[in-house]
């Protein structure tokens, strides 16, 4: 997507035509998927050049999703932390309660243009599943959502929402029974039903063009934030903070700022019980490069190249890989990747709820937790934008459970 910046420096324009971000990304799939992926890539490229498609997308984002989402100055919280001014990009206020819908609206529109009648999706926390079921209901498409058995337990409310929306939720019992296994199962469905099926991947992972496509659909977050902060503060922010599981909300916020070298970007991974314990989901902070789910990126893997189990309090961050563009941004030094523990995220969850009256998703609470560390190190004139990627209603049971409260 075109960016509004007129300097002579070389502009960021990754991935290349084969989907590579440096050594990361690419297309690593079984041969049967190569044809459908080429078809998808062609349709996607055509649609992004097609003004009628872009207008339709824009209209849906306004009328159905409720965009633009506000950029809210968390004044009381900022004052308490005693440092930089913290702005929250309120993706929690989108229809369905998270940033995920930006992407599903885009991909479903693409599916319709390609004449596909059936949508499949994988989901971890259930937000992407709900967002997929939502757009499928609206377009009258059949929808099947793959979800790890363990996540189905953790996210019962979202499972029921998907069913209400008419989707079929298929429990995945293979492997670790979480998001990565749901992705495997969705890939298996796709390879079997490629003639009528569109696979809506929920994050910036998967084979090319998914990482670029999902980024482009999510980049509305950063484009709005960039404009909003300029009109509200008259300048660009000093730092951006977003949680990173697969990394779609983070890349959505970061991407329109990549050429703004004065803006520091922090991606926050889930340290779970602590990086040192091994029970975490922080491939960028503690993993190694490898190939999984169609692309080369940082992974949580053992010395034999097997993918290892991850842990996070938040199902949406519980993924052993990460979008290849984040791998590139890390290696190139353009973005910093840090991690916060379950406990720190939980504390931030409570803080924002009590101080600002906003119940954040546990995923987003990781970004908030890092902001509580970062803000006091900056001065009062400086600005941080935190992506509040989703609301916490879905996590109420998890939090109650942890705190020994039965609802």
């Amino acid at each position: 997507m075109a960016k509004q910046k007129g300097n002579s420096e070389e502009r960021y324009n990754l991935p290349d035509e084969r989907g590579h971000f440096g050594q990361y990304g690419g297309i690593f799939v079984a041969e049967t998927l190569m044809g459908p992926i080429q078809e998808l890539n062609a349709a996607y490229s055509a649609c992004m050049q097609d003004q009628a498609f872009l207008d339709e997308l824009d209209e849906q984002l306004r009328q159905y999703v409720g965009r633009p989402s506000p950029l809210y100055f968390a004044e009381r919280w900022s004052r308490k932390l005693g440092g930089a001014k913290i702005y929250l990009k309120r993706e929690d206020l989108n229809h369905t309660g998270a940033h995920k819908v930006n992407n599903t609206v885009g991909q479903a529109l693409l599916a319709k243009h390609m004449g596909k009648t059936r949508i499949i999706a994988e989901t971890g926390a259930g937000q992407h599943g709900v967002a997929s079921a939502t757009v499928a209901a609206r377009l009258g498409l059949e929808c099947v959502v793959y979800m790890g058995e363990e996540d189905i337990q953790r996210q019962a409310i979202n499972v029921f929402r998907m069913k209400l929306l008419g989707a079929k939720v298929v429990p995945v019992t293979s492997g670790s029974k979480t998001l990565k296994d749901a992705l495997n199962e969705a890939m298996r469905d796709w390879v079997t039903n490629i003639d009528n099926t569109f696979y809506i991947i929920g994050t910036v992972a998967g084979p090319h063009p998914y990482p670029a496509m999902v980024r482009d659909f999510q980049a509305i977050i950063g484009r709005e934030a960039r404009q909003q902060i300029q009109s509200q503060e008259g300048r660009l922010p000093d730092a951006l903070v977003a949680c990173v599981g697969g990394g779609s909300n983070a890349i959505g916020l970061f991407y329109p700022f990549i050429d703004d070298k004065s803006v520091t970007m922090y991606g926050v991974e889930a340290a779970g019980e602590g990086i040192a314990t091994g029970h975490h989901a922080a491939p960028l902070c503690a993993g190694k490069p490898g190939v999984l789910h169609g692309n080369r990126t940082y992974l949580m893997e053992d010395q034999d190249g097997q993918i290892i189990p991850t842990h996070s309090i938040s199902a949406g961050l519980d993924y052993p890989g990460v979008g290849p563009e984040h791998a590139w941004l890390k290696d190139s030094g353009r973005a910093q990747y840090v991690s916060v523990t379950d406990e720190e995220a939980l504390q931030a969850f409570h803080d924002l709820t009590r101080i600002e009256g906003i119940i954040p998703a546990l995923e987003s609470s990781h970004a908030l937790a890092y902001a509580t560390k970062l803000a006091p190190t900056m001065d009062k004139e400086q600005i941080i934008i935190v992506n509040l990627s989703g609301r916490g209603d879905k996590d109420i049971h998890t939090v109650a459970n942890i705190e020994g409260i039965s609802l």
């Binding site: 079984a30 041969e31 049967t32 044809g35 495997n184």
Partner: protein, 268 residues
């Protein structure tokens, strides 16, 4: 010439088609694999395809997924699998062995180390499901340096242009996946297979093997009419699962099924 090319050349002279059984290495335990490899050769296998366990086998149906999970319970690694081939080679220096798996264990080991170890162990070729020729340049170079074949898949969705690219990149043989879907799926459309195999042969002199959906003598015979080789995987792995734990019964069951399929192919 590689063992794989030699084997196909010999079979062609005899007017026979190749039988390629697949098992997952280390399933249900590491000790079973080498004796089972010998038993399969005795039962009529021409080339052995040995699955390297991977935690996220995206192209496999439930039968082979479970086989990989069983092997991984014993932490069977890529180097363990190559060690099994080395042991197999102590008694059989003729039968070609193809490793089948996913890219990540090879990535983590490092391409050069993998190629060296594979050649030293007596591996003849490798088929990695999730690396298309577009991404395989570096790997192909190191495999070639060790005279190892790299086998690529062609599927029902592969167009002519890609068939040519795959034919140019690969060696040993071309593996035609007979259906859209994962391993172990049901339906086999013989007419389409016939059409596809002859299309591949228009662009390549490499032998064409057909796999996915072949489970008995009858389906093998139908495929053998047009293909140079028949791959049988899930049907065998299912036997492994059924006889879980009992090594002798396992060998008997696998041998019986292979012999039956062998007869089916030879009757063509």
């Amino acid at each position: 010439m590689s063992r794989i090319a030699d084997r196909f050349a010999a079979l062609r002279q005899q007017g026979r088609k190749a039988l390629i059984p697949y098992i997952t290495a280390g399933d249900p335990g590491p000790a079973v694999t080498v004796p089972l490899m010998h038993a399969m050769v005795k039962a009529g296998a021409d080339i052995l395809e040995l699955g390297v366990p991977f935690s996220d086998p995206m192209a496999e149906g439930p039968v082979i997924q479970r086989a990989m999970e069983r092997a991984l319970e014993h932490h069977v690694s890529l180097s363990d699998v190559m060690q099994m081939v080395a042991t197999f080679r102590q008694q059989d220096n003729e039968t070609p062995v193809l490793l089948m798996g996913y890219l990540n264990p090879v990535e983590v080991m490092g391409y050069a180390k993998f190629a060296t170890m594979a050649a030293e162990s007596g591996v003849d070729g490798v088929l990695l499901v999730d690396i298309p020729p577009e991404e395989a340049e570096d790997l192909l170079a190191v495999l070639k340096a060790q005279q190892l074949d790299m086998v690529f898949l062609v599927s029902p969705t592969t167009d002519d242009q890609r068939i040519q690219r795959i034919a140019a990149a690969g060696s040993g043989f071309i593996y035609y996946v007979s259906l859209k879907g994962v391993t172990g799926a049901g339906h086999l459309d013989t007419a389409e297979v016939e059409d596809r195999v002859s299309r591949i042969k228009r662009f390549s002199d490499l032998p064409v093997a057909v796999g996915f959906g072949i489970k008995d003598a009858e389906s093998a015979a139908r495929v053998a009419k047009t293909a140079d080789a028949v791959v049988v995987g899930s049907a065998l792995v299912k036997k492994v699962e059924e006889k879980n734990g009992a090594a002798d019964k396992l060998e008997t069951a696998i041998s019986a099924l292979l012999q039956e399929i062998r007869h089916g192919i030879d009757a063509v």
